[in-house]
């Protein structure tokens, strides 16, 4: 990863004054592409940087600082709109957080971590174990429930309708004055029509059965994902009315750059970062940290 570490030094030697020369452009382009930012978003970021440098001459470290500010701005204003960076359940009312994503992205683990934070913060919390499909999915989320002292509502039958589990869990949440209901769903690839329809149904049940609730619908994206992440966000947005993104596995070396494109194109803010398999390994999203890691390695 010497590309990343020494980007500023390399640029210092190749950037003249004024617009970036070809070599410098290639350097920055490589950095962004290797972080999975994608060809299109990378082109756009570079052209914004170039435009700035045509207006005023900047020394290399200032050019890099400007590049970072472009990226932070993309993340802080999803789809060009400002949003409230504070993200937590509202006290004394039912909040339902629907957690969705493709197979193996980290949904169940994220539920476990969220339940832990929620309990620690004093919210009455409940889990809906609505992955009724994958082998031992219910057992897995139950272990996470035990770790955080959270009950998981499950249906003892195998291959039951997940919407029915959600229905039961909402009823339980309503009768117990639960403040945060976390809904774990089965992993599904976005090109599976029937599975996406199943997800829409779950979302409809939530809206119908709990009209009083504040609902957040979060897509879990694995940081090692490539450009398919964009497609995932598009289709899950439709089916589950997404309101945000959780980016997992950022404790690896992958930068999760596709999330930039997701934020930009779908206007969805990133809410949490998963950085490990432990119960404490979930953090609120910070555009500063994300961009520093992306650019500086």
């Amino acid at each position: 990863d010497k590309t990343r570490r020494s980007l500023i030094n390399q640029l210092r030697s190749i950037v003249g004054q004024g617009p970036l020369n070809q070599e410098a452009v290639l350097e920055i382009e490589a950095l962004l592409l290797q972080a999975d930012v994608g060809v299109e978003a990378t082109d756009e970021i570079i052209s914004r940087l170039q435009n700035k440098l045509r207006e005023e001459t900047l020394p290399p470290d200032q050019a890099i600082a400007y590049l970072k500010s472009i990226l932070r701005d993309m993340l802080d204003r999803p789809g060009g709109q400002a949003y409230d960076p504070l993200f937590m359940p509202e006290k004394d009312r039912l909040n339902i957080w629907l957690i969705t994503g493709v197979n193996g992205a980290g949904k169940t683990t994220t539920i476990g971590k969220l339940a832990h934070i929620s309990q620690k913060s004093g919210y009455r919390t409940l889990i809906a174990a609505a992955d009724t499909f994958r082998a031992a999915a219910v057992e897995q989320v139950k272990v996470w429930g035990q770790r955080s002292g959270t009950e998981a509502i499950a249906n003892p039958g195998k291959n039951t309708d997940p919407a029915a589990v959600v229905f039961d869990a909402i009823a339980a949440a309503q009768s117990r004055n639960t403040e945060l209901l976390l809904v774990d769903t089965a992993g599904r690839l976005q090109n599976k029509k029937n599975l996406m329809e199943e997800l829409s149904k779950i979302r409809r049940i939530i809206d119908k059965k709990a009209p009083e609730a504040h609902v957040e619908s979060l897509l879990v994206l694995d940081a090692t994902l490539g450009q398919n992440g964009l497609r995932q966000a598009e289709v899950f947005s439709q089916a589950a009315k997404l309101s945000g993104v959780v980016l997992t596995k950022l404790d690896g070396t992958a930068k999760g750059g596709v999330a930039l494109a997701v934020v930009q194109q779908l206007g969805l803010p990133i809410r949490f970062i998963g950085a490990g398999e432990g119960i404490e390994d979930l953090r609120p999203f910070s555009s500063y940290e994300f961009v520093e890691a992306l650019i500086s390695g």
């Binding site: 493709v102 031992a136 992993g187 490539g226």
Partner: protein
């Protein structure tokens, strides 16, 4: 979301009306399009660079074929090169002279190792090879339950020692049991791990050292981005892999990770996972993969016929 490469190449060539031969001057834009298409398919940047320069060499040296437009000829060169890089034919799973054949599964978290272990067992049983699964993931909650449930579904025995035992010891005893029972192939499922997690990588190295597997398969998610190159390199350098399984191919990812895995490890991709069910495993075919990465259909048959 993506334009097929074929369309893009055609339009790149249209700008050069009247030129019916591939030349250094007119190939530039076409090469740029190939580079873009591969990057959009998530092939690794370094891998793409090498690949494109190889394509350039071959294209410039190519004979003109009568009746074939240069863009069509060019795309065939790209496709053939891709197939060549990914290994011409399908490579089956190893079969040891003396049983049991030992297969070790490895990979990042959530890629599909446990599912692939069960799929492989079912696949082998259909070939009349008896199997045993070994559960060494003592970390992920309910990982052992997951393998037990899968084993039960397909009626394949699962060896486990609970989640307090040492994974190396579980693997060792699992293989011993398989040998004692005369099982043909023993498949060792392992916990997901990051390639930068030194303790976990050392554990995997110890498992490998202890059981001396005939196959060490890297399980890679077909949706993986640039990271596919880095993780393959580290797993191959530190553990040594003999092949790979590309999972979640039933999705709509272009699967450029396949190119990185093959190019960097030099080892063949042996199977693809095409669904969550235990039957959803297929042999890997390089030519199909090449077409998928490039997003192309009938151009090839066109050229083939000419």
């Amino acid at each position: 979301m993506f334009d097929a490469l074929a369309d893009r190449l055609e339009s790149a060539w249209k700008k050069l009306r009247g030129q019916d031969k591939i030349s250094e001057a007119n190939i530039k834009e076409a090469l740029r399009e190939v580079r873009r298409a591969l990057l959009e398919a998530d092939a690794n940047l370094q891998v793409v660079k090498e690949f494109v320069s190889e394509v350039e060499k071959k294209a410039l040296g190519a004979e003109v074929i009568a009746g074939v437009r240069p863009d069509q000829q060019f795309i065939k060169i790209v496709h053939d090169e891709l197939v060549e890089v990914m290994g011409e034919a399908n490579v089956p799973l190893a079969h040891a002279d003396t049983a049991p054949t030992i297969v070790l599964m490895a990979g990042l978290q959530g890629t599909g190792k446990t599912t692939a272990s069960a799929k492989l067992a079912l696949h082998l049983r259909k070939l009349e090879r008896s199997c045993m699964l070994v559960a060494t993931d003592v970390y992920r909650p309910a990982a052992i339950d997951q393998l037990l449930a899968l084993g039960q579904q397909i009626n394949i025995p699962v060896f486990e020692m609970g989640s307090d035992a040492d994974p190396v010891e579980i693997a060792r005893q699992g293989v011993e049991r398989a040998r004692a029972e005369g099982v043909d192939t023993v498949i060792i499922d392992t916990a997901g791990r990051l390639q930068i997690d030194q303790d976990m990588m050392a554990e995997l190295a110890r498992i490998k050292e202890t059981v001396q597997p005939n196959e060490t398969l890297l399980v890679v998610d077909a949706m993986t981005g640039q990271e596919a190159a880095t993780l393959t390199r580290t797993f191959h350098d530190q553990i040594g892999i003999t092949g790979a399984i590309l999972t979640k191919m039933d999705g709509d990812s272009r699967g450029g990770a396949a190119l990185s895995v093959r190019q960097i490890s030099g080892q063949p991709i042996k199977f693809i996972g095409v669904g969550e069910k235990v039957e959803a495993l297929q042999p890997f075919y390089p030519d199909r993969m090449a077409s998928r990465i490039l997003g192309m259909g009938d151009v090839l048959t066109l050229v083939e016929k000419a």
